[in-house]
């Protein structure tokens, strides 16, 4: 048993934390609204290999495992980065898992930095993939349409309809059309579900980062802000919820790490733990960011203050797929071996 990061992992975290602190400050995050995409940041992340790292070595990447990706995702979340890191990584891993020439070509285009692909997290309904993360800025999206995985080009006119949204995230409703499938039948479903495991895990990791940053910001404020001649953080009505949040953030981080470790070794609890991590991190981020707005008082309700940046993303990022309850359902089906259909 070992809960620590090794030297390489610490260096990885430090390098991303450094890059993001310079290029994804709250001011940058605001400037990137409402599209939620900062091209210069995305280029900088591309230059340090944020897509390559996620792809297996035999497909031209660096072969980083889920733990390394989760560590990066936590930093991305902590800085509320307006860059589709998780979407691109998940799409690249999905494409790399498919035995199909079009998938390989799309992956090569991603690795070459020419294209950005994303993945719809929910299946297509009536020919439309709704609220596709990064759908407003990606060149193509992998979607599950019935039992077929299709690669939908988003360049064609009418293929996507960007959606203004709570999180100021680059979401779009995507009309699927009849692109040739990359995979079909059980293989397509298996690949889609595996990619969803990745997305749930990494989104959970990002939410841990987001919640942790919102919490830290709020603790700093609670030390400084005085009411009735005492720092508000000295009142238990403020201190105790913040203590609960500190505990939940630590717990969520441990659970994300455990889930990443289990997925990385292809353990039997990978799907269950990834869904649990997503659910618990969602709940944690939901409460920590509410507390962040609330304990900043009236200031917290203004757009000038930072807590609202975290509050909106804590809800928008996970909800494009579902609520904590949905993730508990997914964890339950994995835990109790119930089929997805029931």
């Amino acid at each position: 048993m070992d809960f620590s990061l090794d030297d390489e992992q610490q260096a990885l975290v430090a390098s991303f934390a450094d890059l993001l602190s310079k290029r994804s400050s709250p001011a940058h995050v605001r400037q990137a609204e409402p599209t939620g995409f900062e091209p210069a940041l995305w280029r900088a992340l591309g230059e340090v290999g944020v897509v390559e790292m996620a792809v297996p070595a035999e497909r031209g990447g660096w072969g980083a495992g889920p733990i390394d990706l989760a560590l990066v995702a936590e930093q991305v979340g902590a800085s509320a980065a307006p860059a589709p890191v998780i979407e691109a990584q998940v799409a690249a891993r999905l494409l790399a898992s498919l035995d199909d020439p079009a998938a390989s070509a799309a992956l090569d285009a991603m690795l070459g930095g020419e294209q950005l692909e994303t993945k719809a997290v929910r299946p297509v309904v009536d020919g439309v993939a709704e609220l596709v993360p990064a759908g407003a800025v990606a060149d193509a999206a992998v979607v599950l349409d019935g039992d077929r995985l299709r690669l939908v080009s988003l360049a064609a006119s009418g293929a996507r309809c960007p959606v203004a949204n709570l999180a100021a995230a680059p979401l779009a409703d995507v009309t699927v059309g009849d692109a040739a499938p990359l995979a079909s039948g059980p293989a397509a479903l298996v690949a889609f579900e595996a990619a969803l495991d990745d997305w749930l895990l990494l989104t959970g990791a990002a939410l841990v980062g987001l919640a942790g940053r919102a919490h830290r910001t709020t603790c700093e404020y609670a030390r400084e802000r005085r009411t009735w001649n005492a720092p508000i953080g000295s009142y238990q009505g403020v201190a105790h919820p913040l203590a609960d949040d500190a505990t939940a953030v630590d717990g969520a981080r441990l659970l994300v790490h455990e889930a990443a470790w289990e997925l990385g070794r292809h353990g039997r609890r990978g799907r269950e733990l990834a869904a649990m991590a997503f659910a618990f991190a969602s709940e944690t981020a939901r409460k920590a960011t509410y507390d962040a707005v609330h304990f900043h008082g009236g200031v917290g309700f203004t757009l000038e203050a930072d807590p609202q940046l975290y509050y909106r993303r804590a809800r928008g990022w996970p909800r494009v797929w579902g609520a904590p309850q949905d993730a508990y359902g997914r964890a339950a089906r994995a835990r109790y071996h119930t089929s997805e259909a029931s």
Binding site: M1, D2, F3, S4, L5, D6, Q9, I67, H215, C219, A222, R223, A230, P231, G233, S234, Y235, Q236, V238, A239, H240, L242, A243, D244, A246, T247, A248, D250, G251, A252, L254, L255, H257, E258, W261, E262, L273, M276, A279, F280, Q325, Y328, G329, A331, A332, R333, R335, Y336, T338, S342
Partner: protein
């Protein structure tokens, strides 16, 4: 990063489980439940024979038998099956204090017997008028020739009706500032002037109130310095903060899963989703607990991490017991020992049991105070 127990730790856990299958008989289990007294002489001696009582300590007669991780695994396994170890646990807390600040005579008198499972000590800190604020205690110890005369009352002295001693915190100097005027004793419970009355609790556990009337105590029973009781107390409380609570949540989740399987309802989406929520809380509680243990094992002092673990697992237990009682429905009301009980009545018992866990060993509010200061950097109230 590695979340797996190594093979030798798994082997140790299996050894503990085999021991429990052998030694923890249904008769002991039933008697503990009926009497509310979590102690059995034979069981404790069997534990001691394995070297598992005070197993992490350096001893005169040999090296430690357990490292921090094994000690945690042992305690978690014992807790999960509700083994009758409460008296061992309190005895160990006190023996540890004696080991650190006790006189050579006291150490010689208590420690070897402790390691053999032949001595038992109850806790006597809390009073009717002083709980979390321990320094507010009123029990007086006055100097008298070679010894002391003690008067007062001690509350929640669980097992004091069967133990040999009570770990007695007294006010020896009423003029000193609160923390400074306290002295600790190991009080033999067969001295004249001691009266013990049962106090029954919601969980079914029997605890006690101890009345002390002009009890004459020889000075050799003092633990630590005169007016130095606070140090002894802190040593004891440090131990208390590291007890595992997630095994209780584990027992609850398992009981309801067993019920759901037996009732043929485990595939119901709403039911299994609710169960998964508490299984998730159990996962987090277990991780927070293992992290604190892992830190201790590598020599770090978990300042906020111990309280986080205690707070989270006990609050999760309370929430889970409430929600899962409602999930199981009317049948959850049927008590253990009633022939109609579902899942051995464990749900009904755990609902009552859960309430104490957020109170004793430092209330949730105390834990939050510590976390707010240590993890959040917030000023003291």
């Amino acid at each position: 990063m590695d979340f797996e127990l190594s093979d030798d730790l798994v082997a140790f856990r299996d050894e503990v489980r085999a021991f429990l299958a052998e030694e923890l008989t249904p008769e002991i289990d039933d008697r503990v439940y009926r009497t509310g007294v979590s102690h059995d002489d034979g069981f404790v001696r069997a534990l001691a024979a394995r070297g598992w009582v005070g197993g992490t300590w350096e001893r005169d007669d040999g090296p430690p038998t357990l490292d921090a991780l094994r000690a945690h695994i042992l305690e978690a396994e014992l807790t999960r099956v509700e083994a009758p170890i409460y008296a061992v646990y309190t005895t160990q807390m006190v023996a540890n204090v004696i080991r650190v600040v006790g006189s050579p005579d006291l150490r010689a008198e208590i420690l070897p017997r402790f390691h053999r499972g032949e001595v038992s000590i109850a806790l006597g800190m809390t009073e009717p008028e002083a709980g979390s604020d321990v320094a507010a205690i009123r029990t007086r110890a006055r100097r008298d020739r070679d010894g002391w005369i003690v008067d007062g009352q001690k509350m929640f002295t669980t097992n004091a009706h069967i133990t040999d001693y009570v770990f007695l915190l007294t006010r020896s100097n009423p003029d000193a500032v609160r923390h400074a005027g306290l002295t600790m004793f190991l009080l033999p419970l067969d001295l004249p002037g001691i009266e013990i009355q049962a106090v029954h609790t919601l969980s079914g556990e029997r605890t006690n109130i101890v009345f002390l009337n002009d009890v004459v105590v020889d000075d050799r029973w003092r633990i630590g310095e005169v007016d130095g009781g606070w140090q002894a107390l802190m040593l004891a409380l440090q131990d208390e903060h590291s007890a595992p609570f997630s095994p209780h949540l584990s027992r609850l989740v398992e009981a309801v899963e067993q019920w759901a399987h037996e009732a043929g309802r485990i595939d119901e989406p709403e039911l299994q989703t609710r169960l998964a929520r508490w299984a998730t809380q159990l996962e987090v509680a277990t991780l927070l607990e293992l992290r604190a243990t892992w830190m201790e094992a590598k020599g770090d002092v978990p300042l906020a991490e111990g309280p986080m673990s205690k707070l989270f697992s006990t609050e999760a237990l309370v929430g889970a017991a409430e929600d899962l009682t409602e999930l199981v429905g009317p049948d959850a009301l049927r008590s253990r020992l009633d022939p109609t009980a579902v899942a051995d009545g464990r749900v009904e018992h755990l609902l009552r049991f859960s309430l104490g866990t957020t109170i004793y060993a430092g209330t949730s509010e105390i834990q939050r105070n510590i976390i707010a200061q240590q993890a959040c950097g917030l000023p003291r109230a």
